[in-house]
Symmetry: C2
Subunit: 230 residues, 2 copies
């Protein structure tokens, strides 16, 4: 389920829906893939065929930001890749903290996907003194959650991942907000109240599983879900 505000100004002054923004990330990944495969140029149709997308939608999404293709030809993979990275704000390094050094927090800290492509996990934070001072297998240090604000400000941390129990999540959100962090990815199975100026996304595994069950129970045929996060 979604909540909250929806749109933001595009380069041209237009407004971009959240759905569009998520698709841009998907397109970026597809282009990464093509670039690795040595493909030099592509077209909206080819992308659509390869990755189960809609070619008109790709063109519409890109059109919000400018004209990046060549009529009759298509897109240059490298250029479009770079353009998307710029649109998405991925031209600089983004610092991330993970609050909650349990199994999930530790696993996320070591999860390779983050450390490439502009995200750096600065540290794990917990309130359990048995964990503080330790490290994840990958070497990410575990700090006292009371040090969060100081470290977040010092290292210019913009993003936090919440991997704490449901009961603790609300308090942790306050701490994270207090530390000046405004982008939050919540894995705790609770609905949190976002503070002003904060962007809060939830990854709720139980809701996802329940949704699969709903589909199976109702016995629909080939269906497919969100390639997002969501």
């Amino acid at each position: 389920m979604k909540r909250g505000s929806k749109r933001r100004r595009a380069g041209r002054g237009a407004v971009i829906s959240d759905l569009t923004a998520q698709r841009l990330s998907v397109y970026l990944r597809c282009l990464d893939d093509l670039e690795k495969s040595g493909v030099a140029t592509t077209s909206s149709q080819r992308l659509a065929d390869l990755y189960q997308l809609n070619s008109a939608q790709i063109r519409k999404d890109l059109a919000h930001f400018g004209e990046f293709g060549v009529r009759g030809v298509g897109y240059t993979v490298i250029d479009l890749r770079r353009t998307l990275a710029r649109i998405l704000g991925l031209t600089r390094e983004w610092k991330v903290v993970i609050v909650g050094a349990g199994n999930l927090g530790m696993a996320l800290a070591d999860y390779g996907g983050f450390n490439r492509e502009g995200f750096t996990i600065v540290g794990l934070f917990d309130s359990d003194s048995a964990k503080i001072g330790g490290r994840s297998r990958g070497g990410v240090p575990v700090h006292d959650v009371r040090e969060l604000a100081a470290i977040a400000r010092r290292d210019q941390v913009s993003l936090a991942i919440l991997a704490v129990p449901a009961a603790a999540a609300d308090g942790v959100l306050a701490i994270v907000a207090e530390a000046g962090i405004r982008g939050i990815l919540n894995f705790a199975p609770v609905r949190l109240k976002p503070r002003a100026g904060m962007t809060l996304k939830a990854v709720d595994l139980k809701v996802q599983l329940e949704n699969l069950v709903f589909h199976l129970t109702r016995g629909d045929g080939a269906s497919a879900g969100r390639q997002s996060r969501r």
Copy 2:
């Protein structure tokens, strides 16, 4: 981004959107919460206020399945909770396998959220002989992925969680499909091609993080995202 078919028959013969289905899961969680707090009755307005929902939408969503409220009064928490569980197909136990016994797979296997409320993790599966025969900290056994089909059929497994590297995901999807599993939650950062009759949802952490960055970069105010999975 979403893909694939969208809708399925409701109890009355109507058709239910995926967004509605996800919200039903959210409502269920809210009612669980209220029930634990000892609240006996509630109303769409109260739910909306407490959990940042929209009261009209709650009523609309429920209306697809019947009339569960009392005019002038509201809903009985326990009854509505039970009704939602039934609608969502959560009246029986659902068996789950996790493919990929790395950090993430292990963490998910031990993640408390699953083991309550009708989901049972039957086992972890991997191709690494160093991991096969072991167990997660929580005691979930790690099997050879080649045994997946046999075990899945024996234990009537309906759901699989993919926690394997991107490069392995496509092959694993084939194995899982072959084992007769039709509901799949994919954590690998790739776009998989769903097979016929399969429901495939992706939880893509990188897309989620990139989306947070997009919001921060464009500097919108209080916004909030998908309580899902996204």
